[in-house]
């Protein structure tokens, strides 16, 4: 195990993604995330790699394999991003980890992709629950950590909200966003017969 504190914390990030972090280490790591934009960038990078791996392998069914595959992928990343395997972390049962997280005080939002290896990534909106400890930095209100969390169902996944039945004020605001997005951004891509086809549609993609 490395003596470099930053390296150790990045190993812990990998363990966190793997659901292998002890609760004491977990709290310390969250506190450090609150204070360190660099660590948050590392975390975002790891999430991205993990998300890519999940999309590359929709047939995988064992969530515990994700951490191993992330670790393998990270070996090909620049050294500064590559966490070494920790010898000190131990395997917490996923249920115990979920309980430990849920028992904390709301300060950091942990976004959990439910059964993310068994379900196409588009089909499972992340569920959120709150945990954690002693954060004095209000700007870290939603550090997101994607976990393979098949047994961490502390809260049912929030279903996507149907556009047509959103509150009128919210729907009006989103309509405005969509119209503006189509005008300014839609023209960069494939514009179909019109950039506004989706806007005029009475359908939604939820099915």
């Amino acid at each position: 195990m490395s003596d470099n504190p930053d390296h150790v914390q990045r190993e812990q990030l990998s363990a966190l993604l793997d659901g292998e972090l002890a609760s004491k280490e977990h709290q310390a790591l969250v506190t450090h995330l609150a204070d360190s934009p660099q660590m948050r960038r590392h975390l975002a990078r790891y999430q991205l790699i993990q998300a890519q791996l999940q999309m590359d392998s929709p047939q995988l069914v064992d969530a515990s394999l994700v951490g191993d595959r992330v670790r393998e992928r990270l070996k090909t990343e620049p050294t500064v991003l590559t966490p070494r395997a920790s010898k000190n972390t131990f395997h917490l049962p996923r249920v115990a980890l979920g309980a430990a997280l849920a028992a904390g005080v709301a300060a950091v939002t942990l976004s959990v992709a439910p059964r993310l290896l068994e379900t196409p990534i588009d089909a499972a909106p992340p569920q959120t629950f709150a945990f954690s400890p002693r954060l004095s930095v209000p700007s870290v209100d939603a550090t997101t950590v994607a976990l393979g969390a098949s047994s961490m169902a502390t809260e049912a996944p929030a279903p996507a909200q149907r556009w047509k039945v959103l509150q009128p004020e919210l729907r009006s605001k989103l309509d405005g966003y969509l119209l503006e997005h189509n005008e300014f951004a839609g023209r960069l891509g494939v514009t179909l017969p019109s950039v506004h086809v989706g806007f005029v549609s009475t359908q939604d993609a939820q099915r």
């Binding site: 934009p37 948050r40 960038r41 975002a44 990078r45 999430q47 991205l48 998300a51 890519q52 999309m55 590359d56 929709p58 976004s111 196409p120 990534i121 588009d122 909106p125 992340p126 209000p138 209100d141 939603a142 997101t144 929030a158 996507a160 909200q161 556009w163 047509k164 959103l166 509150q167 919210l170 605001k173 989103l174 309509d175 405005g176 969509l178 119209l179 503006e180 997005h181 005008e183 300014f184 951004a185 023209r187 960069l188 891509g189 494939v190 514009t191 017969p193 019109s194 506004h196 086809v197 989706g198 806007f199 005029v200 549609s201 009475t202 359908q203 939604d204 993609a205 939820q206 099915r207």
Partner: protein, 300 residues
């Protein structure tokens, strides 16, 4: 072997040429027609008329199902008209020239994230069409099967697919007219001047992203910040990989804010609270891409 490679390169080059021709056609030609739009098992009919007047694109798009919702675009304004409801968005600084320069981004850059492949010729809407397949190289963006009109380059049929080839949506013309015979729409556009809208939204002006106070860490591969608009109420970031696009809105927290996902047509929106602000991402991209970019935002 070299002959095969040369043939492959020729085919890829042909696919790019067809794709660029389609972009030019969509923004530079007059056309009018009826088409169907499919999301999942649902079908919907629409009517579109598009005219180019100088450097300005004029357009009217009408849903032929349900409430006759329609969008009319003139040179300065875009209006959405619904029975019993009138709203108009006034678009500032959107001349036709700027639109065209936006649409002419380097197609070669797309090849980092998509494969372009020539397919067969087929008959669509009574016209000969060339299939061009745009296949995403990862799951952060969708691909397309484009059936392009031999005569004009217009997309007669467009199928949006995910990385695994699963259809997300499609449009297909059943009737198409081009050239000088299409219905004039100038009177529709000028009618915008007479509209008494309930709500007018003035779009934010273009700004320097360095002044936004925000930065983005770990964007999905290929996505870069394309442009940034801001006013006193909100900030609007536009990201693109050259084909897929999404918008990210940052504004103060409010009660009427989206939490999680919602969709209309094949477009998804994702909302979350980050750093004391409401973040809303909108685009025709996989949901995970929206979520990743929404959570990549950090204070500078």
């Amino acid at each position: 072997m070299s002959a095969l490679l040369a043939a492959g390169a020729q085919a890829a080059g042909d696919a790019q040429a067809w794709f660029e021709r389609m972009r030019d056609a969509l923004h530079g030609q007059d056309y009018e027609g009826r088409f169907v739009y499919q999301v999942g098992p649902q079908l919907e009919a629409m009517y579109v008329v598009h005219r180019v007047s100088g450097a300005v694109e004029l357009e009217r798009l009408v849903s032929l199902n349900g409430d006759h919702k329609q969008v009319i675009r003139g040179d300065q304004a875009v209006a959405c008209l619904e029975p019993g409801k009138h709203s108009i968005s006034v678009i500032e600084g959107l001349g036709g020239d700027s639109r065209r320069s936006d649409s002419q981004r380097d197609t070669a850059q797309l090849l980092n994230h998509y494969q372009m492949v020539m397919g067969d010729s087929q008959r669509v809407a009574g016209r000969e069409a060339q299939l061009v397949r745009i296949v995403p190289r990862d799951g952060f963006r969708f691909g397309y099967d484009l059936y392009l009109d031999h005569a004009t380059g217009l997309p007669l049929r467009t199928v949006m697919l995910d990385k695994h080839g699963q259809q997300q949506s499609q449009t297909m013309f059943v009737e198409l007219k081009t050239g000088k015979d299409i219905t004039p729409i100038e009177h529709d556009v000028s009618a915008l001047q007479l509209t008494r809208p309930e709500r007018i939204t003035v779009s934010a002006g273009v700004s320097d992203p360095a002044s936004s106070g925000w930065r983005f860490a770990a964007l999905p591969p290929g996505f870069t910040l394309h442009s940034y608009r801001a006013d006193s109420a909100r900030r609007h970031f536009i990201f693109s990989d050259g084909l897929a696009t999404l918008s990210l809105y940052v504004e103060p927290l409010a009660e009427d804010a989206l939490g999680g996902f919602s969709s209309v047509g094949a477009t998804w929106a994702y909302g979350a609270q980050r750093h004391g602000q409401q973040i809303t991402a909108v685009g025709e991209v996989p949901r995970e891409t929206l979520r990743l970019i929404a959570h990549a935002i950090e204070p500078q």
